[in-house]
């Protein structure tokens, strides 16, 4: 599978199925290009954060007091 495979309406179908989110077909088609852009940016950030230089970084889920 190529890293650059687009997000398609079929991708949205599978995601909706996994999330048990019933969306009409026209909404699924409309979401595909928007999700493609968002996921591309999120994947780029994920690639950066997966680098060896960030191995020790933990997620912020609650900020420390100071």
């Amino acid at each position: 599978m190529s890293r650059d495979e687009p997000i398609t309406a079929e991708s949205i179908d599978r995601l909706c199925s996994a999330a048990q989110l019933p969306l009409p077909a026209e909404r699924r088609r409309a979401l595909a290009p928007m999700l493609a852009q968002l996921v591309a940016a999120a994947n780029e950030l994920s690639r950066k954060m997966s680098g060896s230089g960030y191995r020790g970084i933990v997620p912020i889920l609650r900020f420390p007091e100071r």
């Binding site: 989110l21 969306l23 979401l31 999700l35 999120a42 994920s46 970084i57 007091e65 100071r66």
Partner: protein, 471 residues
Amino acid sequence: MTHPDVQNLTIREAAARIQRSALSPVELTDALLQRIERVNKTLNAYITVCAQQAREIAQAAETMIRAGYHLGPLHGIPIAIKDNIYTRGIRTTAGSKILGDFVPDEDATVITRLKRAGAVIIGKTNLHEFAWGGTTDNPHYGTCRNPWNPERFPAGSSGGSGAAVAARTCLGALGTDTGGSIRLPSSVNGIVGIRPTIGRVSNHNVVPLAWTMDTVSPMTRTVDDCVLMFEVIAGHDPLDEHSAQAPVSDYRAELTRGARGLRVGLIRDYSLTHVQPAVGATIRAALQTLQSLGVEVEEIAMPSIHGNISAQLTIESCEPSTYHQEWLRTRPADYGDDVRTLLELGEMYLATHYLQAQRYRSVLRKEFLDGFRRVDVFVTPTLPFTATPCGATTVAIEGTREEDMLSAIMQFTGVPSLAGLPALSLPVGFDADGLPVGMQVIGRPFDEATLFRLGHAYQQATDWHTRAPAL
């Protein structure tokens, strides 16, 4: 003092007159209610106006004060409340159809604290639906408009509170800020707004947007007034399990120290990059004013800052979508289309996307904390542009290239939200069309005092905050 003048009083000015019985809280509240009636048809800043209760509480305040019971500077002061903050017995819609009939039986902690200080709640303000957006173009309660030019937006999501304060219909307001929702409307409405350090102010009984970024805070015309409200609502709340135990600073003691000696950081290739020319020129002029007050300015590199938009969108999509899961399945058609779309998209990120974004926040926060060894605050514009036409979904920042509004709007405000830092938006001038420009000042964790100190010094040297829209 005649009725037309009282709307222009600051909280401090009104408080001094009320305390010595030179101004009646009833007269003040009546004057503001009349002003709401006159301008709200144009601005649509309020969803609910609490006229009867406000008059009753104002009367009670007057009775108490005349008998010598004065609760403090907010006693008898009319304050507007963003409509995602619970107010007992008063409809709290969150700008939505889904909560259109919701009447809480409890106050938010911030409301409890304001009431104990004697504030008069004058109304509940319009917001972007469920606070998930930056325009306050609300499909259920109408488009909120900017008092400086009603064809322009008031930003959001606390657009109603921003417009209400700027239009002199209240002396202060509460807003909420997740990715910029206090600072953005403060900027385009020409007022002061602060995003506190996460956990500094209780979120108890506030309708959430994104749990790891939500905050509540004041919006006022002056920094001084912001301090008066902030010191009432700040502090640990046992009802909010994420509320910080850190002691509350004496903001008043720091306020009048002046700006001399403070060090301001500009982030290289970021702070003044990708902004409309008028915004850039106005921020540079504001920095020169600060330098004339004895502030030092230096450039700091922050190499990780450019991942912030994606991280912001990922977190601010996934968390609201989690909160809204049931309604999105049972009442999808009751959302406005823009919010419904964002909630649907937020269900489709991977867990690893979300956690990598949360790891990015650690990196960004560390770079800021390293930077705070050299400077006391960082400065950026609050927004890279001034108020756009109502209904616009894109904006041109450089040249004529139109950009998506949501990403553009969070260009600068997302960063302190991600890093858990406090940030103040200050009015610093106007563009050629008379639209306000705001400057964002970002501080160390729990160092709201330095933000207030710098902002107050700036306002002592300038008069932008005294100007009023011609409504």
